[in-house]
């Protein structure tokens, strides 16, 4: 039996053996040799059975808090169960949706016999990059025309954030990034693993269920000069609370006066208000003043391309020379991560964005999705009012985007899951996209019960 025969005093094998010993001493029932038949010696690997694993010290990781909601939902046999966890759009019938324009684009691509599957360049599909930049920055954006934007195709929003963060950790003098409190659960992990130091700024005010603007301005004002600041471009996740245009302007002035570097997460352009330009205003305001900023774009929601992992990272620089050098360094981040990005989803996006008719069709389908969500907000608000549910529920119609921060606490959430089979994240965030006219009453009943029976 090998393992544990190291000559050195603290060899890796020793350490792993120690971990195993602690493990076995800790709980006899769970020890790996305690009658666990799955590691009995198999007939063909006679010498192996009962051997230590080099991975013994690897513990079971917890389920991802957001994606884990779907896992739990799937296990529930109840016929009235509702999944209000992940932010994936559902139709009125509760089905996932693939946009017509996406199906058409896909058909064109698959039926084009001249298409090949050769590696994309490290920075991705050139057409896609140009069109994505124009989409977020505006078709006539001077920054784009002046060639001072570098855009690289990445794996949806997450991949764009990670590549951007890795780049900043290597090349930017300030390693502090301020993220709003609260924010998407994956943000701190993305930035932390990339090597940035994560701090928070006040954002959500539970007493008003709105923006803590004073707190935000104070915290950005006392940030170290040059710090990176994460902004949700629109439809803040999880709260649905966005600054007004006037507030954005004040934020911009403050940020520029402190030389803060804005890093936008744009995951809902067109999906929030139904209008692509409106939802890009915050980003464009910053670009217009000639300063630098970074934008991570996702096409998961607004084109329904979730699983295709399509996104883009744009870095708006002071001039084209800097943009060229920045791009060359982005390539050095990407190559050892996954070499070059996947072609399918980006080709679909490029096909839609470059064709006038398909683009038009897309905006119509996008508005329909956004409108259905706004409709669900109205319906839920009305349902709670008609039940006389205690509290002010106007935040449901004031908040914007896919999610509502209900204000329910984790005990109330757990109650709703147990008694009403409603699945959501424990912070009280619900995905309006998962609601339908048919299921609103059940949700309203659950909220009513939770609020009246539990504090």
């Amino acid at each position: 039996m090998h393992g544990g025969n190291a000559s050195g005093s603290s060899s890796p094998a020793d350490r792993r053996l120690s971990a195993l010993v602690r493990h076995l001493e800790g709980s006899s029932r769970d020890g790996i040799d305690a009658g666990n038949h799955s590691i009995a010696a198999a007939p063909t690997s006679g010498s192996y059975g009962g051997r230590n694993s080099v991975f013994d010290h690897v513990v079971m990781g917890p389920e991802d808090p957001i994606l884990g909601v779907t896992v739990a939902y799937n296990k529930d046999p109840s016929p009235v169960k509702m999944n209000l966890g992940v932010g994936a759009y559902r139709t009125e019938e509760g089905k996932p949706l693939v946009l017509n324009v996406v199906r058409r684009a896909e058909q064109m691509l698959v039926n084009d016999s001249s298409r090949v599957k050769e590696y994309l360049p490290i920075v991705g599909l050139a057409d896609f990059n140009k069109l994505s930049a124009k989409l977020i920055l505006g078709a006539d954006s001077p920054a784009v025309q002046e060639n001072r934007v570098t855009t690289v195709q990445c794996l949806s929003g997450t991949g764009s954030l990670r590549v951007g963060a890795e780049f900043l950790a290597r090349h930017y003098h300030q390693h502090t990034i301020l993220i709003p409190q609260p924010t998407w659960g994956n943000h701190p992990k993305v930035f932390g693993l990339a090597g940035l130091s994560v701090k928070t700024y006040r954002y959500y005010d539970p007493s008003t269920r709105g923006l803590d603007f004073e707190g935000l301005m104070e915290d950005l004002g006392s940030a170290p000069s040059g710090a990176i600041v994460l902004f949700h471009a629109c439809a803040h996740n999880p709260t649905g609370v966005d600054p007004t245009a006037q507030q954005w302007e004040q934020i911009r002035q403050l940020a520029r006066s402190k030389a803060l570097l804005p890093f936008f997460d744009s995951a809902y352009q067109g999906f929030a208000s139904g209008n692509l330009d409106t939802d890009a205003q915050s980003v464009r305001m910053f670009v217009k003043d000639g300063g630098e900023c970074i934008v991570a774009q996702s096409f998961a929601k607004n084109m329904g391309l979730y699983g295709e992992r399509v996104g883009a990272l744009s870095i708006v620089c002071r001039n084209a020379d800097v943009a060229g050098r920045v791009e060359s360094q982005l390539k050095l981040v990407i190559r050892p991560m996954y070499s070059n990005p996947p072609i399918h989803g980006a080709s679909i996006v490029a096909t839609v964005l470059k064709d006038r008719n398909m683009f038009q069709e897309w905006t119509v389908e996008l508005k329909a999705m956004a409108d259905r969500i706004i409709n669900m907000r109205t319906q839920l608000f009305d349902a709670l009012r008609s039940r006389g549910t205690p509290g002010d529920w106007s935040h449901i119609i004031k908040q914007i985007g896919m999610f509502t921060f209900t204000g329910l606490n984790s005990k109330q959430v757990a109650f709703m899951t147990k008694e009403y089979h409603i699945y959501m994240t424990s912070d009280g965030r619900i995905s309006m996209a998962g609601l339908s006219s048919r299921t609103v009453p059940h949700l309203a009943d659950a909220i009513h019960a939770a609020v009246t029976r539990l504090a």
């Binding site: 991975f55 079971m60 002046e146 949806s156 084209a320 360094q329 190559r335 050892p336 996954y338």
Partner: protein, 462 residues
């Protein structure tokens, strides 16, 4: 007119600490770069002043960033495209070309995509670990459906972004759970291996592999270096068709390598990018991996479908960790997920579905095996033709048989950097500076020309 921004630069830097003058000149340079690029129209326009003044004299935050060098492998294709000579050959990147030197999309892939279009499935997020049907298929392809590691559910499989992405996930796992361990990589190895481990902050060192004197394997050096490494090191092995040399250990040599690894409690870490593509047989090309698994060892294996299914741009592969028990495999998989989530959340569906649909359909699977055999066959026949041309044209008595002995897409010609440069500069043959040529990019029609180029570079350049 052009001087206004510069004047405001001067006044703003007056209050800064030393080195004030250097900062002023630096700012001046940055601004003047901007002004010359924009051209007269922009300088004359009002908006130029408005935007440049409104952010005062803020420099670029990225002004000190240097231009990174082009990728040594991918940069070869760029240089090839720029060359206008009609005899030019691109033997750089390892992407398969037909005899007509065209990229090749496998028929089974086209069929699978057409079916997928008909089925019109949704595009929902995959789980973090990827498409379940793909993960099952990929592990079974690697080990065989009846392999004990599969039956005992001891393999943690997570879909990754082709070979690179799968290697990166494994590297991240090593960094987190084996922080004092290093990875031993062959000398030479695929250029991106070092980058992956560097970025993942995993230390590495090299074991001898290529012997320039024999243009073959330095087996004694390899064994010696693996033995000398600290116990519990990870040993990166190419499952078949070593990149860049094309030189693989013999089955007997593999057994000795496994003995040494076991002796030192090292952890084998396979990079399998060419299963089926090297010999033409999926099972044969997996024999090294299967032999290690049969010994009951725990191992890591990164897989890629870029070459064997021609799915380069779809980025489809997997990281597999063979563990001592299904419980351990379950835990390891959960931790691989925790590493993938902050990198890209979940992997792309398209390539995964293509693979799962082909492997899951017996007709398509058979057809795939035929197409793969014919790709491998074309490469073998081109090797033979090149070898014959070299023997016919070279009178020096040099032994060119290494071309036939090497396997896979690549051949290490034994040419040094100066000789490789001669290949490019004089003969317009594009290859990597380490003397590697991609036979996948060679047609039988070009073999004689290539033979001339190699003979000239070998004998007339030092």
């Amino acid at each position: 007119m052009a001087s206004s921004p510069i004047l405001s630069l001067a006044s703003s830097t007056a209050s800064s600490a030393l080195p004030c003058r250097r900062r002023f000149l630096h700012n001046l340079k940055a601004t003047s770069n901007q002004m010359t690029f924009l051209g007269n129209d922009h300088i004359n326009s009002k908006s130029f002043f408005r935007t440049s003044m409104s952010v005062a004299v803020e420099n670029s935050k990225f002004t000190d960033i240097t231009m990174a060098p082009p990728d040594p492998i991918l940069g070869v294709s760029e240089a090839f495209r720029a060359d206008t000579n009609e005899m030019k050959l691109n033997l750089g990147v390892g992407a398969y070309r037909t005899e007509d030197l065209q990229p090749y999309v496998l028929n089974v892939v086209k069929k699978a995509e057409t079916l997928m279009l008909e089925w019109a499935e949704n595009k929902e997020y995959l789980p973090i670990e990827g498409l379940a049907a793909f993960n099952k298929a990929t592990a079974e392809l690697l080990f065989g459906t009846e392999n004990p590691v599969i039956l005992q559910q001891r393999v943690a499989t997570v879909q990754g972004l082709s070979g690179t992405g799968s290697l990166r996930l494994a590297a991240a796992l090593i960094e987190r759970y084996f922080p004092s361990s290093k990875v031993l990589i062959s000398s030479p190895t695929w250029g991106n291996h070092k980058n992956i481990f560097n970025d993942a902050r995993v230390p590495w060192s090299e074991y001898r592999y290529y012997d320039p004197k024999t243009v073959g394997l330095d087996f004694d050096g390899m064994i010696s270096d693996i033995k000398a490494a600290p116990e519990g090191s990870f040993v990166l092995l190419h499952g078949c068709a070593h990149n860049p040399t094309g030189i693989d250990p013999t089955p007997e040599q593999w057994e000795i390598i496994a003995d040494v690894i076991q002796e030192k409690n090292h952890i084998p870490f396979f990079d399998v990018a060419y299963q089926g593509f090297a010999s033409g047989s999926l099972d044969k090309d997996a024999s090294s991996v299967r032999m290690f698994a049969a010994r009951g060892l725990e191992l890591l294996i990164a897989q890629s479908y870029s070459k064997n299914l021609g799915l380069y741009a779809e980025r489809i592969g997997a990281i597999n960790v063979v563990c001592s028990s299904s419980d351990v495999a379950h835990r390891v998989k959960s931790q691989l997920k925790r590493l993938a989530r902050p990198m890209y959340s979940n992997p792309p569906i398209h390539g995964a579905r293509i693979v799962a649909n082909i492997v899951g359909n017996s007709d398509l699977f058979s057809e795939w095996k035929e197409e793969m055999a014919s790709m491998a066959g074309r490469i073998k026949s081109v090797r033979k033709k090149l070898y014959d041309s070299l023997c016919a044209k070279d009178n020096s008595g040099k032994d060119w048989s290494f071309i036939l002995k090497q396997i896979g897409m690549f051949s290490f010609t034994g040419l040094n950097k100066a000789q490789s440069d001669n290949m490019t500069n004089k003969w317009h043959v594009y290859m990597t500076k380490d003397g590697r040529i991609s036979l996948a990019g060679l047609s039988s029609a070009n073999c004689e020309y290539l033979a001339d180029a190699i003979i000239d570079s070998y004998h007339n350049v030092s």
